[in-house]
Symmetry: C2
Subunit: 370 residues, 2 copies
Amino acid sequence: MSVPTEIELGITADLHVHLREGAMMELITPTVKQGGFSIAYVMPNLVPPVTSIERVTTYHESLKKLSPTTTFLMSFYLSKELTPELIEEAGSKKIIYGIKCYPAGVTTNSKFGVDPNDFSSFYPIFEVMQKHGLVLNIHGEKPAVKNTTQSEEDDIHVLNAEPKFLPALRKLHQDFPKLKIVLEHCTTSDAVALIRELNKDTKPEDEVYVAGTITAHHLSLTIDNWAGNPINFCKPVAKLPKDKRALVEAATSGERWFFFGSDSAPHPIEAKSTHVGVCAGVYTQSHALGYLADVFEESNKLENLVKFASTNGLGFYAQPQILEQAAKLDKQRAWVVKRPVQVPEVIANSQLRVVPFRAGETLNWAVEWR
Amino acid sequence: MSVPTEIELGITADLHVHLREGAMMELITPTVKQGGFSIAYVMPNLVPPVTSIERVTTYHESLKKLSPTTTFLMSFYLSKELTPELIEEAGSKKIIYGIKCYPAGVTTNSKFGVDPNDFSSFYPIFEVMQKHGLVLNIHGEKPAVKNTTQSEEDDIHVLNAEPKFLPALRKLHQDFPKLKIVLEHCTTSDAVALIRELNKDTKPEDEVYVAGTITAHHLSLTIDNWAGNPINFCKPVAKLPKDKRALVEAATSGERWFFFGSDSAPHPIEAKSTHVGVCAGVYTQSHALGYLADVFEESNKLENLVKFASTNGLGFYAQPQILEQAAKLDKQRAWVVKRPVQVPEVIANSQLRVVPFRAGETLNWAVEWR
């Protein structure tokens, strides 16, 4: 088969982005489109977290002003402040499309998060979410109990925090088989295997209820890349080579339960260049589709790029008005074109400098809007 | 048993230190004594590496000027430049006490190192070392083959590089059963297990031929401590909680084949506070014995501290003139005294700032020389 030199991807969706607030939001928000994406599902881990209709609406307005042709899908932050009534209103009016669940303390601005052993207190919320097709987006890491364990069985650390979380995902799906759940930013072969297992009876005509997003950076990084390179440090951390191979295989497989969520997480360079307390997060937004095209080409799976970057994710979210809105806001469609593009050393405005993933390197694929 | 509040440790030995050159050497060398150690075994990974009698003698003189009461044991860097004749001379005259072997490319200034699959070309050197009781100090990590492996069996990464190296150590001991070999800075339960296995027939009256050093920082750190904290990043990296427990158990066991080598490796703060290319190394020299006393107390094994910090290592090196020289150079002996000591945020001179391990924290034990 001849390799295409340009691919139309249509209405593309990055179903996990961090756009922040203030100067960072101003710098980053336009890069969703620049990176090749029509639609962005926006994470709510601001300070304080997004838990009210007023706050999410204001935030949405700010984003739209910064990039009028981008479709932003908004979310709430799962916490005790949410009530079934609030979710009923926000869900029925399509003010939000999902709720993000952070286990307490595992990543940037997750201190208001939940104890994954205590999901049951949120079951009334999940009932309403199921009813409205709202998606539960889960950061799937079990929080570590610091320095108190004495047996390997009990140890939780950055490498096994995701596998240790998976039984909680399995139980949640069992308890809410029609609740749409995304295990965000899968990083392990164990996570890939569980998503597949939970879909083993999903027929082509069935709706998908449990899916996994995979980032661009976890398709390239392993532990050796962030050891000594804080710019590549994120949570969940990139794992072992075998895990990376499993993620690439899953992402490029075309299977409907795997789709793109960049988890692009910008931090000022000062927060990455420090000897202690490096902020977790890799910024990939500005070149997201280019990174993906490189990986898909290397795997000889360019034909599945459109599934990963568009149709699988939009199919899972399964809300027709999303596509309608995106089609209306932007008449152009995303393409990747085989043409070298150098990733800049830094993306900056007058107040901030952010170092993008693979800074200074050359990508094989450029984004064009046509 | 009542817990002592002061312990005499006699002539103490840190059998793996990096003292650098120039301004860093001037800043760090006096901290060997400050940290509680009479004797320091000095690593040869300068640029270019130490491979000649002239260079090692000059280096030794510089160190003695900076800390006249410290006994410095010098070493060569294993490389093609060494000849059996050179080792014969340097060994018989006690100019060096051992030779350090770095697998190429695994840590700071190791690019001149050797391929661990190619030890056989050094066998003539090892013959001479064996004859003179010179110690082969091995950085036991197998170099990674970048991005070319496709199976878990072949993968080499920062977590398994040490276990993957262990067969080479086993073979070397088999080929040279009377060559003194140290697996430096053990970081895994696998390494601890192999050192024990290779000593399973060593009787109390026998000489020890294969030993492992353990650092102070690997008794406290796990992967979670360096993920996001470049100050704690070193090679080999700190591993999982189960590994740390095995190291603490080995260090505090009193077994003769485990002793202290701090691998204290200072870098200017600028080399640790960077978003890419963080230098590997943890600086522990200035408070070395205090860190150890804290760990031994926590394990209720203070009675074995003298073995780990003094007699086991000196027994292994087994050169009477070392003790004689140390006794002559310094009439005082190291003690630890139970008294809170705050680790400073930084150790500095007019040119350099180095952040010590556990900066800003309070240790329970202070060093005194009496």
